[in-house]
Symmetry: C2
């Protein structure tokens, strides 16, 4: 009996979920023809309803925070899920920023006339249904919705259970905005089914979900990539390196190391490892590490760099093999001396996650070699890796940083949230000879 | 004992396969820096060695044909695997065609200077290792290698067991060309491991294979898409429709129907269903179907169209529900009357495989609505679906027709066989305020 009941219940929530996805797909046919003006009106309405729902959202968020505290969640994680009037204001400003962006739908990338008179146009069109699976931070609920809707797609949101109350309150506000514009609520579809397996049903719903983007920790991303049957954009994991070449300008090399490690250590475009050419290590390492330690950074040094640092009276731990593949997301930095730029590139291509990689050098030939040979979404010469970001690249808002090679690589902006279609216009052309 | 031995043997071929993939990856680092000239020299050498190996290739192919005949393989399938001097000549001409194409590697798509002075360039770069899994037709061995190599990637080839001898002989010729240019043979890696499971190891080799493209029947494509852990471009299945609108020019509508169905019924850009607006059905259907029957086409008609055809004394079978989702790849055509363009679009978006869809109409509004609302790689107004093809689009050769929305949609040419990277050049820029 118990078993039969479980099966029945499972069938029930699966049916609910699949019906929600069908509704999201159906609703999208109303969105894909909207003018940029109408879509911007929707974003403006969303900003207004977020404001009018502010109290309800903060109250719901207080429930989430209370539950998290009861579960003894680490305070850093509680801080990420906590909402304040300032954070709601930031969401509203995010909506305004997306509103200001150019509409990618209808953008003609290529257009040509064939010798037989066919006119072929490659046009950007919406994906259809974009699903976002995310952890903590409730602001993703607003940011992701705004980007997907402006790109002409329905959005399906699956947040974490930790932010369930907050997300539900935010979605209520967004639904009210859809009501005002006489648009179907299914354009913003919230999956609040408690079963963990709901994620797996969602990422296998071929024909109903056109794109899934996981946003969160490495475990979540790994799970989605391994189990998805629908197209995925893999985002976010950044085991990044900064390589200081033999002919680096030392002041610049120190400044960039400090910025890339300490400006915001918890994000994916921060560096985790500093590679230093052996010829410059004696001069560079003591200066750089002294400054890094002053910024609160813990150093994990290879045997050769450890010797230099110990000689200079600077504290460092011994590097362990697992450090090479660890994304600390914290004020910790691995330090390695390399004998050549080739060794640096080989190390990066072996251990990097193809996110952001940088070289500091005054040697144009080394810079060229590094930019060409390092396999990553963004490669930097004499600049911090921290610039891999939709705003910094000038794309406006972003849905994350893609570390895959298919479709989108680097910041995923509005254009990357569309696909293309060929529109071919003829006057009766046929291919056969008859 | 037996079990232990099986496990051991399995481990052995898996190791061999993974080592081959590692070699292909390693070899690619020599290819990605080659000039367009050097890559073209390689393609020219491949054309020459195919010529000098012609006898050996034809002899190996005779073995494949003999085995196929012994297995009583259908003659159409034997014809597809059979090589002739003319077909080898076509492969050589294919190499020349790829040689003539512009090198996509290094192509700068976007370039901009940020207010902080950072110069950001979006540059096309090779994928790395591209794996092709294909059935029958040995010419794919040459075509796929040429495209992948020119796009700067190693190619890993997994053909069907039916063409093992032919493919091995062709790969021998290609390896001799690599020898002549002093390039590693692993740039063209042939997987001749007999175990069927080799495909699954190949498509799960994350970090070793950067892209996999299945080329073959619906079963193969389905299997690869369902089991791959590496990025896939899904190609080829085309359940396409031709919709004859109320205001169609009748001669044109007949001509396009004949071409789209009969010019080459076995390929993915042929049509499988003819949708006809009810207002024009009485005039159009008898004329079109008479011409189609004269071209050897079997008609499967919905009840309303069956009545019209019977009234005109034309032979047709009754349409079955499964016909709507069948890609016949044969001289068979489903015929349906629809009451409106909306019904036609809804039918196409439900049953189509997002490949190529066409409308014939003199009504600009209907044409616009169809091109906008139909979800497919290529949408046609007053032209045959047969033009969805890399050559016809002017891309030169192609690796297939993508029916997915991620990365490549429609003909997959050289540009689609590359990914992009952001190269960022600074003068010491940091993001933090310090």
């Amino acid at each position: 009996m118990d078993h039969a009941r479980t099966v029945e219940m499972k069938t029930y929530w699966e049916d609910v979920l699949l019906q929600k996805l069908k509704d999201a797909k159906e609703a999208q046919s109303e969105l894909c023809h909207l003018t940029a003006q109408k879509k911007n009106d929707l974003l403006a309405a969303m900003a207004r309803t977020l404001r009018t729902h502010e109290e309800a959202i903060l109250a719901a968020n207080a429930d989430d925070v209370e539950e998290a505290e009861a579960k003894m969640m680490p305070s850093a994680r509680i801080d990420r899920l906590r909402l304040t009037p300032e954070r709601i204001q930031a969401m509203i400003e995010g909506l305004d920023a997306v509103r200001a962006l150019e509409d990618p739908v209808g953008h003609v990338t290529r257009s040509f006339v064939r010798p037989n008179g066919l006119v072929i146009r490659q046009v950007h069109v919406p994906f259809g249904v974009i699903a976002i699976i995310y952890e903590a931070r409730p602001n993703v609920t607003v940011d992701a919705s705004a980007l997907a809707l402006k790109a002409g797609s329905s959005v399906v949101l699956r947040g974490s259970s930790e932010t369930l109350h907050s997300n539900r309150a935010i979605v209520n506000a967004l639904h009210e905005a859809l009501d005002i514009l006489n648009l179907p609520r299914a354009l913003v579809t919230f999956i609040d089914i408690p079963e963990r397996e709901a994620v797996d049903v969602l990422i296998r719903a071929r024909g109903l979900v056109d794109l899934v983007i996981p946003r969160g920790g490495a475990g979540l991303i790994r799970h989605v990539v391994d189990h998805a049957r629908v197209p995925v954009i893999e985002t976010g994991v950044g085991n990044n390196h900064l390589y200081i070449d033999r002919l680096a300008e030392l002041d610049m090399a120190v400044r960039i190391a400090i910025d890339a490690k300490t400006d915001r250590p918890s994000v994916c475009n921060a560096i985790e490892t500093l590679l230093v050419h052996t010829d410059i290590a004696d001069q560079y390492l003591p200066r750089a590490v002294q400054a890094l330690i002053a910024h609160g950074v813990e150093i994990r040094a290879c045997p050769r760099s450890l010797e230099i640092l110990n000689g200079a009276g600077l504290a460092a731990k011994a590097l362990q093999p697992e450090d090479d593949e660890t994304e600390y997301l914290d004020l910790i930095l691995a330090v390695r001396i390399v004998d050549s730029i080739e060794e640096a590139i080989a190390h990066i291509n072996r251990f990097g996650t193809k996110h952001s990689e940088a070289i500091v050098t005054e040697d144009a030939k080394s810079a060229h070699m590094f930019l060409q040979s390092v396999d990553a979404a963004a490669v930097y010469h004499n600049a911090s890796t921290r610039f891999t970001d939709g705003f910094e690249f000038g794309f406006g808002a972003e849905m994350g940083i893609s570390t895959q090679k298919l479709h989108a690589r680097g910041p995923v902006g509005l254009m990357e949230l569309t696909t293309i279609k060929y529109e071919v216009t003829g006057q009766g052309q046929v291919r056969g000879k008859r």
